[in-house]
């Protein structure tokens, strides 16, 4: 891998940019690998990278049915934070956060991880109780977190409406200063380039059509580019996890839903942080290009269509205009949808399965992007050792039978 730097830019400019190497090769798939990662999104590529880097497994293939980073990696609102309530989730996301903090340098690819802070707004007394509880838990878990009041909010985010006569007045917020955003495509490309440099084969346009299981053990996959043998197969395909599971005769407790997001036209910088509001269903940041990047709520129905219903978008914009009345005249440029795989407790599944040598990484719901490096890190460990790392041990499939859910979703769901 030729290193990227200001110097390399200069040197290549002199040769009219004709000597840049490919970021990753386009190899023909081999007949067999030590490990196969199905799914070339951020999580899958990260898994392959850490298999090679941390566990010395270099004879690894990533099989991607389309183009890498084409799923939820390239369709999310790029928010990174680790301020989760339950210790199990918080430690997993915090691992990810720590990897984010050195990721550009580790990959030698600028993923533009920008720690501009993430605010989660509270609009009711109960919201504020929940915020206090979460912030206190975060601090005890060693995760930076603070509660901020409306005066501080008004100063930090001048365009935010903190007036007490709005329909759901902002009463305060939690703030994680280390949270922020990253450039989503770059994450996929950076991991791909770094994994490729360690010998990983990234095979695009290669759809897995079946998983070969013999005697309760995974032995390989059938693909649109022929059969490929391996006794370690990690499936990291987000919304399509259920479809892949079925190939191996498994079922998963996840459901796939459309999740939409949209951007505005580029405007001059006006919002230098990330603002989320669960109560009114909107989250927003401004990209380095000047676009306001806004996430909408999840569509209620099951769907694999990468499209959602328009009222969800309307609802999100009503919330955004409520929070930021000055954005009313800014224009929406483009909207899109992804497919999110949601587990009953809104927490991921990073687990071995009843099929030996077959591992699943799914169920990230709306929160997958921020977990990309951490997810790959623990999943690579799980695949390499055939045993969960302590960070992902709580996220096994067994929890659905024992009842030991990590209920991030329930913790905020019930009204009174």
């Amino acid at each position: 891998m030729k290193k990227y730097s200001a110097y390399s830019l200069l040197r290549n400019a002199l040769s009219h940019n004709r000597n840049w190497r490919t970021a990753w090769r386009s190899p023909e798939p081999k007949k067999s690998y030590d490990a196969i990662v199905v799914g070339g999104g951020g999580h899958g590529l990260a898994t392959a990278y850490y298999l090679a880097k941390n566990h010395g497994m270099r004879n690894v293939a990533v099989l991607e049915k389309g183009w890498i980073g084409g799923g939820n990696t390239g369709r999310n609102t790029t928010i990174v934070r680790s301020n989760y309530l339950w210790t199990e989730a918080a430690l997993l996301y915090e691992k990810s956060m720590q990897l984010w903090e050195g990721l550009s340098q580790d990959l030698n690819y600028n993923v533009m991880f920008s720690q501009r802070g993430v605010y989660n707004l509270g609009h009711s007394l109960q919201d504020m109780r929940d915020i206090e509880r979460r912030v206190n838990a975060n601090r005890l878990n060693g995760i930076d977190a603070e509660v901020v009041g409306t005066a501080e909010l008004a100063k930090a985010i001048p365009c935010l409406n903190v007036s007490s006569d709005s329909r759901y007045p902002v009463l305060g917020a939690s703030l994680q200063r280390r949270g922020g955003v990253a450039r989503h495509d770059a994450v996929a490309w950076g991991f791909a380039r770094a994994a490729d440099a360690l010998g990983v084969d990234i095979v695009e346009q290669c759809a897995v059509t079946d998983i070969d299981v013999r005697g309760g053990k995974a032995v390989g996959v059938q693909t649109t580019r022929g059969p490929i043998a391996s006794d370690r197969i990690g499936v990291v395909v987000a919304g399509h996890a259920g479809v892949l599971a079925k190939m191996a005769g498994l079922r998963l407790p996840i459901e796939s839903h459309p999740l939409q997001a949209f951007v505005s036209e580029p405007i001059r910088p006006v919002l230098d942080t990330v603002v989320m509001s669960g109560a009114v269903h909107g989250y927003i940041s401004q990209s380095d290009k000047g676009e306001l990047v806004i996430g909408a709520g999840i569509d209620a129905y099951n769907g694999y269509g990468q499209r959602g219903s328009f009222p969800v978008i309307e609802h999100a914009l009503q919330a955004i205009v409520e929070l930021f009345p000055v954005f009313s005249r800014v224009r929406m440029l483009r909207l899109w949808g992804g497919i999110v795989d949601v587990a009953p407790d809104a927490c991921p599944i990073l687990s071995k399965t009843p099929v030996e040598g077959l591992y699943f990484n799914c169920g990230w719901g709306t929160g997958g992007f921020k977990a990309t490096p951490g997810s790959g890190w623990v999943f690579a460990h799980t695949m390499a050792h055939d045993e969960a790392h302590q960070l992902n041990a709580p996220f096994s499939l067994e929890r659905f039978a024992t009842g030991a859910l990590v209920d991030e979703h329930g913790a905020a769901a019930v009204a009174h």
Binding site: G74, Q126, R139, L317, R331, M332, A411, A415
Partner: protein, 1008 residues
């Protein structure tokens, strides 16, 4: 006036010369006419330089005349009424309009940022992924610098004074586009009796007919347009929407259309003294059939320095000449690979410009129009291309080279022609956006070199230029076909209409020309732009391919191709062809990027509609709301409800008011508006069986007239809701739910009743709105009710605790419940909501002798916390079982109920689950903040294990010390133990685990 508008033609155009309009750009005053766009008025005034590109900050001019414009991005208006990022080509001129260019510092003409252009080679595609990484901590400084240069316009600083609205509509046929094909289709469908909506992007109907010299039925085409519009207006059930853009074609033939209501005459009329005019209306249309007739976009051509101001789309030049009577240049060169640009040459010549040459890449040149041009003495140069342009802020000359047609080899002999305008045409791309959004397939056409709409996936059809038709005659015929076919599919009898006659000349076919070769190869020659706004060049696309970004989506994301505000309308097809060439694949195999809504940008406000500000979400109010407000009670937001939080007297704060209210209830009497509780009437022969399955306790054992506290679980065993239920008859129950749970619980019950147990004969009726509930609590509550006049005895024996009675109270029919959420002797008065204000007033009057205190949600919370009563959603969080709450006594062993099985799962049987306990602060003073985490050990190395958290916490006036409820791991077995409350910024505070029942633990006071 003409002197002030040097490029305005003496006559012609669809402008109103009797209505001159003043406007300004960057502070400089200009004049235009009604009917102008900002762009046409600027060109009339000789202003061509209007923008700076995003990355390289190159000077840019007006290129197009509509939605495809990449450069003329303006901040229009000032202050709260400013609107960022409007296209000058779409802004209708109005008097007093103030516009600013969006980029360039200190000015558009002298931009320090333009230095970027000198580093153009370093700033190739994806350069930022390769640098700004070291040292690690510097990214925030790099980013700050990057952000300083970013974006176009500015969001206003103050809230939007405009209002917006939604409009739901249904139609048989929605026609998108009011050009020749759209008008014809609408006429055909509407005449056949269909309910039609015709949405036209432009202020005027007619589309391309407004920009040309075509004749229809032997008269100017605009006459035909006028007559059709008149006819459509007179047809019943036909809605014409000018200035209305179809934004999105969503599932199930649902389309969104943005209608701009604040332009043109409406803008002139606008009267700020009477606000409320709708600025923009979002139509949400469900159509049975859709005809897409949005025309096509002309493509530019890729050659060196093709972005210089003065290089324009040929069709845009024609539009400016014909529609706006503006001449964009005096000495023009036309460069084309197809016949349509010949019309532009003729238009220019006809308007008095000198057309120096028509440069046609096709060796055989053009068709009939070429002959016409030659007969006017315009030099036609077939087999030649424009390979470079000179001039920085305006085209000065072009260089013309020979080209063999099928070869990328360039001859070195070039000719230079001076000019101030270069009109280019690289062919036409149908606007297939909506077709593709609807899931329709796209077929690459190797004769027209464009994507045509293929197989539809919803109920749509394409017509006209959007369907690959070229001449107005073909478009009219195609529109007629589409309109009649739509009518036929709807089962309507087709109207007898024919397409009018036109005079279209014969055309020679287009030949592909995706990139003009230069002397050096694409990586070394001056920049050949594909996406003007984002500075994506041919070299960038080729670099992306070399670096392995080969998929069209990767190339788009790596080079920013098509990410501009025009969403690739101008450059995408050219970019894909350049990519195809770099990959050595046909364009059809490269495919397109995904077409996504919205078709053109739309204001957030319009999408939000009227549901903003005070109408953002319904505020639900009880019938006593006005009384509470008059009493000065601040409101607590509880879901959609506004509930009185506390009732301050004489400057009391929350703490003082609540202390007083609590003591009033404990010592005398208080009254609360509990109307927001959910109330359900449940009856039917199987109601007992039904409720047994829902609630955890033995419902069947309840005696007539008895009340009971009940909880219901989700199937996961977690507490879902709670409330008091009463048995009113053998097969008749009255259920109450939490305020927030009212709707959810009724839905939950109906779900089970309808989907799982349809054999159970039970009717559920919500009485939440019918009944208001007044809770009267305190030792004097009985005396108060007696004072009000009650027709039934209220003593303990006749009306014991946890029973219900029908009564007449204060002359009004009520249901009286002897239930208590405060632990005091208490009654809940259920009364028809229309009588409730009267009853409340009487309670307050009669209560005066007991110094009654109205109390709010806060006091209610304190009173119940003193008793250790939970609030679902505050003391529970969706991961709490009834066992955790110490409610085993409520769980029937004799029957199954929803969620019961889950309680047996291993995790639910753990001894160390978090359980409800009470907490006392060791200092007897500190009110633990709700949400405080509890720890066992103060040696703090993170992560510190947490063993619980505080769910409710209040200062108790009647106990004289704070009380708290908490969920603590294995808490019930730890009573008496000390834990620590981890208080941020303070030493951990020791707290003692106690029983949650702080006050009257034996429950004697409520049972008197």
């Amino acid at each position: 006036m003409a002197a002030a508008q040097p490029n305005r033609l003496r006559e012609g155009g669809r402008i109103d010369r009797s209505r001159p309009l003043k406007f300004s750009l960057d502070g400089k005053a200009y004049t235009g006419f009604a009917g102008d766009t900002l762009a046409s008025a600027l060109i009339a005034n000789g202003v061509m330089l209007v923008g700076r590109s995003f990355k390289l900050r190159r000077p840019r001019g007006i290129v197009g005349s509509g939605a495809e414009e990449p450069n003329a991005i303006m901040q229009v208006g000032e202050g709260a009424e400013a609107q960022p990022n409007l296209l000058a080509t779409q802004v209708e001129l109005r008097d007093g309009l103030v516009a600013h260019t969006a980029r360039g510092w200190p000015s558009i003409r002298f931009d320090f940022g333009a230095i970027s252009d000198s580093f153009g080679r370093i700033l190739g595609a994806g350069f930022y992924y390769k640098t700004f990484m070291y040292p690690r901590s510097w990214w925030k400084f790099y980013e700050r610098a990057i952000r300083r240069t970013t974006g176009f316009g500015q969001a206003p600083q103050t809230p939007d004074p405009d209002t917006y609205e939604h409009m739901n509509a249904h139609c048989d046929v929605l026609v998108a586009g009011g050009g020749p094909a759209g008008l014809m289709a609408a006429l055909a469908a509407a005449s056949s009796g269909a309910r039609v909506i015709l949405a036209n992007d432009d202020s005027e109907f007619g589309g391309s007919l407004l920009s040309g010299a075509e004749q229809i039925d032997g008269a100017p085409a605009v006459d035909w347009v006028a007559s059709v519009v008149t006819e459509l207006r007179e047809l019943k059930d036909c809605i014409l929407l000018p200035r209305a853009t179809v934004l999105g074609y969503h599932d199930h033939d649902f389309l969104t259309v943005a209608e701009r209501c604040d332009l043109g005459e409406a803008a002139e009329r606008r009267d700020r003294a009477r606000p409320g005019e709708t600025a923009e209306r979002l139509w949400r249309i469900r159509a049975k059939r859709v005809i897409l007739a949005q025309g096509g976009f002309e493509r530019p051509l890729a050659f060196c320095n093709n972005d210089r101001p003065g290089v324009m789309l040929a069709s845009a030049v024609s539009t400016y000449v014909h529609r706006y009577a503006v001449l964009p240049g005096r000495r023009a060169v036309v460069f084309t690979n197809n016949d349509s640009a010949y019309r532009t040459a003729l238009d220019l010549a006809g308007a008095g410009a000198v057309v120096e040459a028509i440069v046609d890449s096709r060796p055989a040149g053009g068709g009939e129009l070429a002959d016409r041009a030659q007969s006017l003495g315009i030099p036609v140069l077939p087999g030649r291309v424009v390979c470079d342009v000179t001039g920085r802020n305006r085209v000065k000359s072009v260089r013309i080279a020979e080209w063999k047609g099928d070869s990328w080899e360039n001859t070195r002999s070039t000719v230079r022609i001076d000019c101030d305008l270069l009109a280019v045409s690289g062919g036409w791309s149908p606007a297939v956006h909506l077709h593709a959004q609807a899931g329709g397939e796209l077929d690459w056409d190797e004769t027209q070199f464009c994507f045509l709409p293929g197989q539809a996936r919803q109920s749509h059809d394409s017509a006209g230029a959007g369907n690959g038709r070229q001449s107005p005659g073909e478009c009219l015929a195609d529109g007629l076909r589409a309109g009649l076919e739509a009518a036929a599919k709807l089962g309507l009898e087709a109207a007898a209409i024919e397409a009018p006659a036109t005079n279209s000349p014969g055309e020679a076919p287009i030949e592909a020309l995706w990139r003009v070769p230069a002397e050096k190869d694409a990586d070394r020659c001056p920049k050949q732009f594909i996406d003007f706004q984002n500075d994506t060049t041919v070299a960038d696309i080729r670099l992306a391919v070399r670096e392995g970004y080969r998929d069209v989506e990767h190339v788009k994301r790596y080079t920013a191709l098509g990410f501009g505000t025009d969403q690739g309308k101008l450059g995408n097809i050219n970019g894909m062809a350049v990519l195809a060439d770099a990959l050595g694949k046909p364009v059809s195999e490269v495919g397109t990027t995904t077409f996504r809504p919205v078709y053109t940008p739309v204001r957030f406000g319009a999408v939000a509609g009227e549901s903003v500000g005070g109408l953002y979400d319904p505020v639900r109010k009880t019938v006593l709301h006005d009384w509470h407000e008059a009493a000065g009670a601040p409101m607590e937001v509880v879901g959609q409800w506004h509930r009185p939080w506390y009732f301050p007297r004489d400057g009391e704060d929350l703490h003082a008011a609540v202390a007083r209210e609590c003591l009033a209830v404990r010592n005398s009497v208080g009254a609360m508006d509990a109307s927001t509780l959910g109330k359900i009437d449940a009856r039917g022969p199987d109601v007992v069986e039904f409720l047994e399955r829902i609630y955890t306790h033995n419902v069947g054992r309840m005696k007539l007239g008895r009340c009971a506290y009940g909880i219901m679980l989700g199937e996961d065993g977690m507490v879902m809701d709670d409330g008091v239920m009463a048995r009113l008859g053998e097969n008749h129950f009255y259920l109450t739910t939490t305020t927030g749970g009212a709707a959810r619980v009724l839905d939950w019950l109906e779900l089970w009743l309808q989907t799982e147990w349809p054999e159970l004969n039970v009717y559920l009726t919500s009485l939440t709105e019918h009944y208001s509930t007044i809770a009267v609590a305190g030792p004097n509550s009985r005396a108060l009710l007696e004072a009000l006049g009650c027709d039934i005895p209220l003593d303990k024996e006749s009306f014991p605790f946890l029973t219900v009675r029908t009564a007449n109270l204060a002359g009004m029919p009520v249901q009286l419940f002897r239930v208590s959420f405060s632990g005091e002797l208490a009654f809940e008065i259920n009364i028809g909501s229309h009588f409730a204000p009267d009853m409340w007033r009487k309670v307050m009057e009669a209560g005066r002798e007991f110094d009654i205190a109205p109390y709010g949600t806060e006091t209610m919370h304190v009173l119940r916390a003193e008793k250790g009563f939970i609030i679902v959603g505050q003391d529970t969080d969706g991961s709490v079982t009834p066992v955790d709450l110490g409610m085993n006594w409520l769980l029937s062993k004799e029957k199954d109920f929803l969620g019961k099985r889950s309680l047996r799962r291993p995790d639910c049987l753990r001894e160390d689950r978090k359980q409800l306990v009470g907490l006392l602060s060791s200092d007897q003073r500190t009110v633990l903040p709700e949400g405080t985490q509890l720890i066992e050990d103060i040696a703090r190395t993170e992560p510190v294990p947490m063993c619980g958290h505080v769910t409710s916490s209040y200062d108790s006036a009647c106990l004289g010390h704070p009380v708290a409820l908490a969920l603590v791991a294995g808490g019930r077995a730890r009573k008496g133990e000390n834990l620590f409350a981890a208080l941020p910024g303070r030493e951990p505070l020791p707290v003692q685990v106690v029983s949650p029942a702080f006050y009257d633990p034996r429950g004697e006071r409520q049972n008197v």
